[in-house]
Symmetry: C2
Amino acid sequence: MITIDDFDTFPDFPIEGILFYDIAPILASPDRFREACIQLMPPPDAEVDVVAGIDARGFIFAPVVAQTLGVGMTMVRKKGKMPGVDLLESGVEMEYGSADLTVSAGGIEGRHVLVIDDVLATGGTACAVAEMLERGGAASVRFSFLMEIEGLEGRAALEGYSVVSAVIV
Amino acid sequence: MITIDDFDTFPDFPIEGILFYDIAPILASPDRFREACIQLMPPPDAEVDVVAGIDARGFIFAPVVAQTLGVGMTMVRKKGKMPGVDLLESGVEMEYGSADLTVSAGGIEGRHVLVIDDVLATGGTACAVAEMLERGGAASVRFSFLMEIEGLEGRAALEGYSVVSAVIV
């Protein structure tokens, strides 16, 4: 079982006032990485048809969780990174910086979607992704995060959604 | 076994003259994704201590290959994305655009490194990553790519390195 001690911390990165939790030590150990992926798994009774990984660190965990569940994966990326005419788009305000995210609509309609990202902070990104997926006809949306920063109240912002956090700080 | 027909293609993306091969259909199928990861595996006699995934699509395949090999993973990211004082840096000229890449030196010295990325085009990124890893004391560097664009001669640029390509086009 991974805990907050498995992360490295860097104060004032990428900007002043932000304490950055680095996942590198978790990735460096195949056992810790596997444990982290287990902690990201949804409850056994959860219905999941597709796992949506958020660029870039969500991409690291989403495929392993998807393989464990026996389902496919889809990418949530910043606008301009993905081709296609069927892209859903969303405007996002994040803890620092901002980004417009896109996802291919084809894999979303009627599907139960598990969204995976590394950090739940204010929940701004997650809310925007949920809105985008629901607009695209997702049957349900749930979330798994590697780390939840409790003081920033992202869980409250995601009220009504199932939220799994591997580590809460 | 995945083939070139498993990719979607988009002409003139992200810029005119580039034919973009989209991995989305491979990710959407858990079986095809697993097959792709098997095709990325190095030869059975290859010595690999750590898998380096290149941001962002290398992040999708590197963890599964690393887990299959029973080794850890490290991230190769654009400059400014990773904290730390022990970062190796490299200048890169890519098929389109350019980027400075970084990797944490801690996981490289004395290690046999398997680098994973989605596309081998001219080999500019791969050469820059190899140079960076060797400067950081890697014991060896080898590569696996999901797709190799043969006409751009990246394999010649990587002469002397072991190169695995899941699909050659």
